[in-house]
């Protein structure tokens, strides 16, 4: 179906007098199952949104190519694309349209604020909503039955990051004692920084200073100055791609070389793009972030396909890919495109066919229990997984060798 037709149909359906508010009708055998794919593809978050959309679309293509939803007679999945325009009200409006278009479920959102608004609206229609990335804990603590988060939230990320930091530090003979945190000042940076700031002292680290900066930040020279002046053993950045790159480059320029740069959800720290474009500044940077299972064949094949398209294999791609696979599995087991049945299927899902190092899914109050970030490090020209050991492809290099 051409895009124009799809859009016109969506618009007409949403303004027609007989509107569909909560279709619980099981689809006729063979007819397509509509799935809402919601991302901020325009506005400030457009890069991440576009990457997420690519991942979701590829997954849908692959499922359809492999025969669609077998329990529904080979029904194909039809993507209903939505642009959240990087705002919660944008996401909200798209959910309404997707609902009117009769989607069976929605995947995506990316930004926490968009996910919060979108999943809440979806809840009105008992529409299953699978969060692709959004990390704030409140996404799964609102008691919404329709909301499922496949990836980890703040709490788990902060804990894993600290556990791994302690492990790496211990393994090297505890050379690091002091820390500085540099974070961006919106939802994810602030939230993460708060958790880290409280928990680091409990683990035996001294936090010298916490520096917050806005997104966008035009210049990091003063931040680099402060880091150089206080000389922490470890610098912990938590920000988006652009700021991360500027910060890393500025540190290189200012000859700031701590014992380790240990980012948590670092915007570029585990980005192939960053490594490719700034190999020097990227060397030995560690990140605790979303990452695919390096031993998973499907994940590696997808990477090849993305590389062949001259794009970068970023976490938005494989997380959305996995979320679609998860949804397809739920639809198969539910044996129908009925929203309530899909929610039920997700609730008791034990899906292991995804690309992430989480093990089979297990949702408690909407949160996938096995979801956790992974530690990576840029070694040579590649990004290696250094922890957990079961997925590791290299050993951590710590402290960073002096230039």
């Amino acid at each position: 179906m051409s895009r124009d037709n799809l859009n016109r149909r969506r618009f007409l359906q949403s303004t027609a007098a007989a509107a569909l508010s909560a279709p619980s009708i099981a689809r006729a055998q063979g007819s397509a199952v509509k799935v809402g794919v919601l991302h901020p593809v325009s506005g400030a978050l457009s890069y991440s949104g576009q990457q997420g959309r690519i991942g979701a679309q590829l997954a849908i293509e692959d499922i359809n190519a492999a025969g669609g939803i077998k329990a529904l007679g080979g029904a194909k999945i039809e993507a209903v694309l939505g642009d959240a325009q990087s705002t919660p009200d944008g996401g909200n409006a798209e959910v309404e349209k997707m609902n009117s278009a009769g989607v069976a479920a929605i995947v995506g959102g990316y930004a926490s604020s968009i996910c919060l608004a979108a999943s809440q609206t979806a809840a009105r229609y008992n529409l299953p909503y699978i969060v692709d990335v959004g990390v704030v804990d409140s996404i799964v603590t609102r008691g919404l039955k329709n909301t499922f988060r496949f990836g980890p939230g703040f709490g788990v990320i902060a804990k894993t990051a600290l556990d791994n930091l302690v492990a790496i530090n211990d393994a090297a003979g505890k050379p690091a004692k002091t820390v500085m945190i540099v974070h961006e000042d919106s939802a994810f940076g602030s939230g993460l920084s708060k958790l880290l700031n409280t928990q680091l002292p409990e683990r035996g680290f001294q936090v010298l200073e916490v520096i917050s900066h806005p997104t966008p930040t035009r210049d990091f020279n003063n931040v680099a100055l402060k880091v150089r002046a206080q000389n922490p053993d470890i610098v912990i950045p938590a920000n988006y791609y652009n700021e991360y790159v500027l910060f890393a480059r500025t540190m290189q320029q200012q000859r700031v070389r701590p014992k380790g740069i240990y980012s948590v959800l670092g915007g570029a720290a585990s980005s192939y793009k960053f490594v490719k474009e700034f190999p020097e500044a990227a060397q030995y940077i560690m990140d605790c972030n979303h990452w695919f299972d390096p031993k998973n064949q499907k994940a590696l094949e997808l990477k090849k396909r993305i590389d062949a398209r001259n794009e970068f294999y970023t976490y938005e791609v494989y997380m959305n890919y996995s979320c679609i696979l998860l949804l397809a599995d739920a639809i198969e087991r539910a044996g129908s495109a009925d929203r309530a049945r899909i929610i039920g299927a997700l609730e008791n899902s034990t899906f292991g066919g995804h690309l992430m190092p989480y093990g089979p899914t297990k949702f408690v109050n909407g949160q996938n229990q096995g979801a956790a970030p992974v530690n990576t490090q840029v070694i040579g020209n590649d990004i290696q997984v250094i922890l957990p050991a079961s997925f590791a492809s290299a050993k951590a290099v710590f402290p960073m060798p002096r230039a």
């Binding site: 457009s46 576009q50 917050s212 806005p214 100055l225 200012q254």
Partner: protein, 290 residues
């Protein structure tokens, strides 16, 4: 707390960052001082210039400093054409309409770039991008030092042009008294367009100066607009010297308030200063009495 060791480097940082802001503000102050319009499209045009500088390097292999030599005239032409054939006619001379037109243009340019080039953040890697000049405690990045020098040179050039060339005098005449200027035979529409073109040319040079250390994406230019407005008001609308000195001043203020209040809250320093200037001396440091 904040040790004295970093005060001098912070000052120097502020001056260098301020220089870049000053060049953006130079363009804006000319446009504002003469056309009396708040150019909403300034940020988007800077973004477009950044893309131009990027592609000049990526596709044609031209060093940004060299690219500035032909991008400046190119963007002058673009600015001239925009004002002469789009903004001027569409606005029917009403301030309110100019606001809308420049806003519409800003949306168009930014999203055209998004549509054409996607949202990826792009950077270029130059061999000298990480070279530094060491002055005492401070490591000054070479591209930023160069930028400082270039901006001062351009500001001086513009100042002289305003004073001594016929076009410069015509621009100042139109800024001061449009009707009178028209009656003396000056083609106001042409002068408006020239001024807009000059403003856009400044953006082209800014882009070339920024790109060794900054990045390019469809939203990159927006970060500089508010601060440029602050400088325009601080320095006095229409004053070249004001934009230059105001830029340096704002850069230093930003640097120090960031140092003492943190980068997030520190941004407040600029705006509080902006408000104070507006409330107590709206004509700015060098502007005409309001």
């Amino acid at each position: 707390m904040v040790s004295s060791v970093i005060l001098v480097p912070a000052l120097l940082n502020g001056l260098m960052t301020g220089a870049v802001y000053a060049l953006v503000a130079l363009g804006l102050t000319l446009i504002y001082g003469v056309l009396h319009i708040i150019n909403f499209a300034h940020g988007a045009l800077l973004t477009a210039a950044l893309f131009a500088a990027f592609f000049a390097n990526k596709l044609l292999g031209i060093d940004p400093y060299v690219a500035a030599l032909f991008l400046a005239p190119l963007f002058f032409g673009i600015g001239y054409a925009l004002q002469r054939f789009v903004i001027g006619p569409a606005a029917h001379g009403e301030d309110r309409n100019i606001l809308l037109v420049t806003l519409g243009l800003a949306v168009m340019i930014e999203n055209a770039l998004l549509y054409a080039f996607r949202a990826d953040t792009r950077t270029i890697n130059l061999s000298y991008a990480f070279d530094v000049v060491e002055i005492g405690n401070s490591f000054l990045a070479v591209p930023r030092v160069v930028a400082f020098g270039v901006v001062v040179a351009i500001a001086a050039l513009l100042w002289f042009a305003m004073r001594w060339t016929d076009t410069g005098k015509a621009i100042r005449a139109v800024a001061k008294e449009k009707l009178g200027a028209e009656l003396s035979g000056i083609n106001v529409a042409h002068i408006y367009a020239v001024t807009f073109g000059l403003g856009t040319a400044c953006l082209a040079v800014t882009a070339c100066l920024l790109i060794p250390t900054y990045y390019v994406n469809p939203h990159a230019g927006n970060a500089f607009v508010l601060i440029a407005f602050t400088i325009v008001v601080l320095g006095g609308m229409g004053s070249v010297a004001g934009a230059m000195l105001g830029g340096l001043f704002v850069g230093v203020v930003e640097s120090f308030s960031g140092l003492y209040l943190g980068e997030s809250l520190g941004q407040i320093g600029i705006f509080v200063m902006f408000i104070l200037v507006l409330l107590f001396r709206p004509s700015g440091l060098f502007g005409e009495r309001a």
